[in-house]
Symmetry: C2
Subunit: 362 residues, 2 copies
């Protein structure tokens, strides 16, 4: 087992990474007060696989309630959060009750938001079971739900007590979901860690074949990269914005297609390719750099050609409500060079529309 630390003063917490951690009762008990209530929030896909194991590790700590939600991005709403509040109030849970998120990014984001808001905040533990949530969404305290008018528009910065990553849970992850997680892994290399990117490029076959050691490596290195950035800028006033590489385009794609049709990671994958296209048009990177981004995204079996049934204008409109808008200006994360992302908030409309038109196929 590897333990990383997110240093955020009184909000610091550990990330445990290892095979079979769901069975380690002591990892849970170290972060849950004896005799306190617990609520495990999971979904219909994950619960049959891992709920029993989790409950076994929690047995003896206190009373446990379980909430099993439908699977999918469409459940990540204020309405579902309200249903969770209802179940928690019926128990009734108090201010010392620990919320445990068992599932992927949707479960973690929603559960974290519920933990942040239930009685103005209760303790929270992330147990991510997908690659995407293990390398990205479970770490760093971003919680929230979607709104009909935009993704993640309602939420809170709320740090967990601990993140428990059992890499064995990836054995049950289908290839499409695995690829979606790879988008965020590749992102860390592209935005600020050229040696890691090179390592991914060299080991992409082993990774995609789910080689255990390669997977342990990408999770550790991704969590460390995220931890370093979050420690510098918890609430995204500066450098944390770099983590949004591919996300301004990605969120617009997800929103245009309706949440769920494209997985978040798929949209981010194409978004990183679009960011490369725009960076090249603006003269930041060369055509061969753009090709390099496209190659690694394609090697992770993520879409690189574009999105069907959506117009450039439609994507442009959806971008206007993105959280990354500041002072009415769109904020893009682009490539200064491969392995070094930068924040650009004066992208000319002309090149932006050229990029959008190249990838939006109506």
């Amino acid at each position: 087992m590897k333990t990383l630390n997110i240093p955020l003063k009184e909000r610091s917490y550990p990330i445990y990474i290892g095979e079979g951690l769901l069975d380690k009762a002591d990892l849970f008990s170290a972060h849950i007060g004896a005799g306190q209530k617990m609520v495990v929030i999971s979904n219909e896909v994950v619960a049959p696989l891992y709920l029993e194991k989790t409950l076994a590790s929690l047995a003896g700590l206190g009373d446990v309630e379980t909430v099993v939600l439908p699977d999918g991005e469409h459940t990540k709403t204020l309405q579902t959060a309200n249903e969770v509040f209802t179940e928690m109030l019926q128990v009734p849970c108090d201010r010392k009750t620990t919320v445990i998120a068992l599932g992927g990014g949707v479960t973690g984001d929603l559960s974290g938001f519920c933990a942040a808001c239930y009685q103005r905040g209760v303790p929270f533990i992330q147990v991510p079971t997908t690659l995407l949530s293990q390398v990205d969404s479970s770490v760093g305290g971003k919680t929230g739900v979607n709104h009909a008018l935009g993704k993640n528009m309602v939420g809170a910065f709320y740090q967990p007590q601990a993140v428990i990553i059992d890499t064995a849970t990836l054995d049950s992850l289908d290839d499409r979901q695995f690829s979606a997680g790879m988008a965020e892994v590749v992102k860390y290399g592209l935005l600020g860690d050229l040696p890691f990117l090179e390592w991914i490029e060299q080991n992409i076959n082993a990774i995609m074949c789910r080689d255990k050691q390669a997977i342990a490596q990408i999770i550790e290195r991704s969590c460390q990269a995220k931890a370093d950035i979050v420690a510098k800028d918890e609430k995204e006033h500066g450098v944390r914005a770099l983590l949004n590489l591919g996300h301004t385009f990605g969120h617009a794609i997800e929103s245009a297609k309706g949440y769920g049709e494209w997985l978040h990671g798929e949209a981010v994958g194409l978004g990183m390719v679009m960011a490369a296209d725009l960076s090249r048009r603006l003269g930041y990177i060369k055509p061969e750099d753009q090709q390099r981004v496209q190659s690694i995204v394609a090697a992770a079996k993520l879409p690189v050609d574009g999105v069907q049934g959506v117009s450039a204008e439609q994507l442009r409109e959806l971008m206007a409500v993105d959280k990354k808008v500041a002072d009415g200006k769109l904020r893009f994360i682009l490539y200064k060079q491969i392995g070094q992302a930068i924040i650009v908030d004066d992208v000319p409309e002309l090149q932006l529309m050229q990029t959008l038109s190249s990838f939006a196929h109506q």
Copy 2:
């Protein structure tokens, strides 16, 4: 104008108190970035009186959107919050948009929650226009909405950039609302400031006749009392719980009668009398102390006799989901003596039911 400060490190902020502050554009501009958008959230009662004045002070700072909600406790829901998010997304507001709450406690709590959650947090200014919100709810960062199963069960600790208290807005406050606010004023005296309590007792006629100087005095002293406690314990892990004097009973009353039939302050007023009854039964205070609590609450024209159409058992059940429950135990704020409240979490069921039976008239 008087300026108090809430010292909370990077979350510190000023409370401005004075007559006619709504007209002071510079108070607003000091806390709103030039050219940033603003959203004023108000209600149907307050907006016709003070919205125009407020907008005049904001003119020239940037674009202002207004959201006017129905009046009353029943609007303080997650559903209304979602409607506010919709309006904000339609503008669209970004992460630098300032939310300005213009109204009483309901408006402030709801607006603060919206500010806390919109895009994971935007700047927020409180402009309380009722006595209750000026002396209590606008100060200290408690925001939230009600749930069908309990009051303020969903929310966030989220501090504003500033609190602007224009005492002239009390001129339009009806007597019932004024009395409701007096419950929280009296509370500060009862829980920890005997000299202030004595001052209130001596000046109760001037206060109830809305003598300007007396009112300025009670607002300043109440805000200072709240600021002192919040500075010591922002998130209610300890001493801040004392501010809940009268609230465990009060919330149960509000909940039993349906939000809005009893004003929050009325329920707290009776709650403080019930806390005195229970304190006397447990031997903490003498019958004459209980009488003193009852007298000052009655002098503020608040209910002291009890609540109709509710059973003791019903109140007891509603208390079980109160946020002040910890480890399954009810937590009461009782009187160690007049002017000194204490936290008691081992109240015997017998005396509790005796108190409830004395005040619940079915």
